[in-house]
Amino acid sequence: MSIVETPASGVPAGTPPEFPQDLRDKIADMVAHEHHARGAAIEAMRLTQKRFGWLCDAHMREIAKLCSMSMADLDGIATFFNLLFRKPVGENVVMLCDSVSCWLMGEEKVRARFCEKLGIKRGQTTPDGKVTFLPIVCLGHCDHAPAMLVNEELYGNVDTETVDRVIDQMKNGSVRGES
């Protein structure tokens, strides 16, 4: 189930960048090491998304070809998983845990602060394309709840002050973890 609800208004649609040769080689190599080609599909999508932020149709078609699958088959997998984005996301992706331990420790307040400061709801991207705000399930950081991921950095004991600081950092282009 995709958790990105709406396309990012700030992200230009345009023509997707060409599928790079090094990525094509890497995926072909992964496929060669699998018992069946499709075994590489999920990691191929993760790898592509890591490079481009999301999975556009053109790239999906390339991956499907490399994994000897139909585009529909591959899309069926992409739309099943939480962490694969079939819509563009912002420069930064904030994932705030909304599972039980974080909820018990004040996640709703943190969530409200994000929504208020960013002017968006969960699942949306700011108009300037800087930040996509998403819910995520338990991050295994429950002893430091509430927890969140900002891009790949884990944050614990998040409060409204953390939210303000992180938003400032994202607007200025440098995000560092403090888990």
């Binding site: 699958m69 099943f80 998983f81 599972s99 338990c138 991050l139 295994g140 002893d143």
Partner: protein, 431 residues
């Protein structure tokens, strides 16, 4: 026994220093188990030692690890393709133990997997890791790379003629991947729907080949069992099952955390580590081992946290990390949060789970927001009955999902009734 020996799984973990490399790991006593297994023990000997240790799976179901392995066809690795899979899809809300093991001492997992693979004669290993564990992925990939460079992985390990290598697979994220057959389906590049059993994975698992799936914490026990023997391992625990356990608490404790303690300590002893409840909060109830275990009331605050005792009390030990409900938090809201998670994470394969859990979520939303009707209580009870016992749905997702609801309806009946009667959340002023 000194302090380090009493907590073998975490003794080498130093969060500030980062995970040990091969040399440091060996200096601290690592690789003794794999040396012993590969020089002198037969695969059958290893399975027997693990069976004698009474190690039970640490992922939640608590199945005996030795017995699980014994169902795998005995053909040598050279003659049959077999797989060993580490389940590191730690996604049970309130569970934070595998991340510690993976980030703290990844080589311990690697060593445990080499020994286990030798026992079942598997040549292919996979570590299935939460996609959100970016630091854990880096630690594991480094550990696997270094172990391969130093000959701990690859061909002819320790000159034994046994070949084994590990691939690390970061998940794309769904709770159902923690279910072992769904995990295998995901590894095959498909939507992670569970499969029907039989065939069990030990006979027909990944790509149809014999496969064993064990939790990460389970594997981390193996080097110590083989290095020190089953009797030593049994002596670590405070109950009939062997070993230590990573216990923990989250919620309004003074110092939430996870600690390696003898299997079978009481919740009271765990709470002592956590410094008790925060000032101004009392323990009302708790989920003993993750979101899919039934609530136990505060009268069980000194319960023995072993598999048998928790089951007798009406819940499950699960992952062993308890979630605390305090007296100032709305139990209806908490159950609403839990069922939202389970409804979202249902894979959608079977109708009762796909349609039943969102229905439960909508009913709880209504009650929590002051729009509930008395009949909603009957609807909730219907769902408990229809989704509850194992066997009405395709896998264990729905029965797990319904456990906190079923127990919550009994324990917090008055709170549900008050929400419906007063048409509001009765905790809102307190919060």
């Amino acid at each position: 026994m000194d302090e380090a020996e009493r907590r073998p799984l975490t003794a080498m973990i130093d969060r500030a220093a980062g995970p040990p490399d091969c040399a440091a790991y060996e200096r601290m006593g690592g690789f003794r188990g794999v040396r012993r297994a590969l020089s002198g023990m037969s695969p059958g000997d290893v399975i027997e030692e693990v069976t004698k240790s009474k190690l039970r799976g640490r992922g939640g179901a608590g199945f005996g690890t030795g017995p699980k392995w014994s169902f795998v066809p005995k053909d040598p690795a050279s003659q049959r393709r077999k797989y060993l899979v580490a389940n590191g899809d730690e996604m049970e809300p309130g569970t934070f133990k595998d991340r510690l093991l993976v980030e703290g001492n990844p080589l311990q997992l690697v060593e445990g997997m080499i020994i286990s693979a030798f026992a079942i004669q598997a040549s292919f290993g996979v570590i299935f890791l939460r996609g959100e564990y970016h630091r854990g992925l880096e630690c594991l990939e480094n550990a696997v790379l270094e172990a391969r460079e130093r000959g701990w992985l690859g061909e002819n390990i320790l000159g034994s003629g046994f070949n084994f290598d590990i691939h690390v697979h970061p998940s794309a994220g769904r709770y159902i991947c923690g279910e072992e057959t769904a995990l295998l389906t995901a590894l095959e590049g498909r939507r992670a729907n569970p499969r029907s059993k039989p065939p069990f994975p030990q006979v027909g698992g990944l790509w149809g080949a014999p496969t064993v799936v064990n939790n990460i914490e389970t594997f981390c026990n193996i080097p110590h069992i083989i290095a020190n023997g089953a009797d030593w391992y049994l002596g670590l625990s405070a109950c009939a099952d062997g070993g230590t356990k990573l216990y923990g608490v989250s919620g309004r404790a003074k110092r939430p955390g996870t600690w390696e303690l003898p299997l079978g300590v009481t919740l009271g002893e765990i709470m002592d580590r956590a410094g008790g409840m925060q000032d101004g909060y009392k323990l009302r109830a708790f989920l003993p081992g993750g979101a899919s275990t039934a609530f136990l009331g505060a009268e069980h605050e000194n319960i023995v946290m072993d598999y048998g005792t928790v089951e007798k009390a009406g819940s499950r030990l699960g992952t062993g990390l308890a979630i605390l409900l305090d007296d100032r938090t709305c139990p209806v809201g908490m159950i609403r949060n839990l069922e939202h998670f389970f409804a979202q994470e249902s894979c959608g394969w079977c109708t009762p789970c796909r349609d039943g859990l969102p229905w439960v979520e909508r009913l709880l939303n209504a009650i929590d927001e002051g729009e509930g009707e008395q009949e909603d209580m009957d609807r909730l009870a219907d769902h408990v009955r229809l989704l509850g016992p194992m066997g009405r749905t395709f896998c264990a997702h729905a029965p797990g999902a319904i456990a906190p609801l079923a127990s919550g309806l009994a324990l917090f009946r008055e709170d549900f009734e008050a929400h419906i009667r007063e048409r509001r959340c009765t905790y809102q002023d307190a919060a």
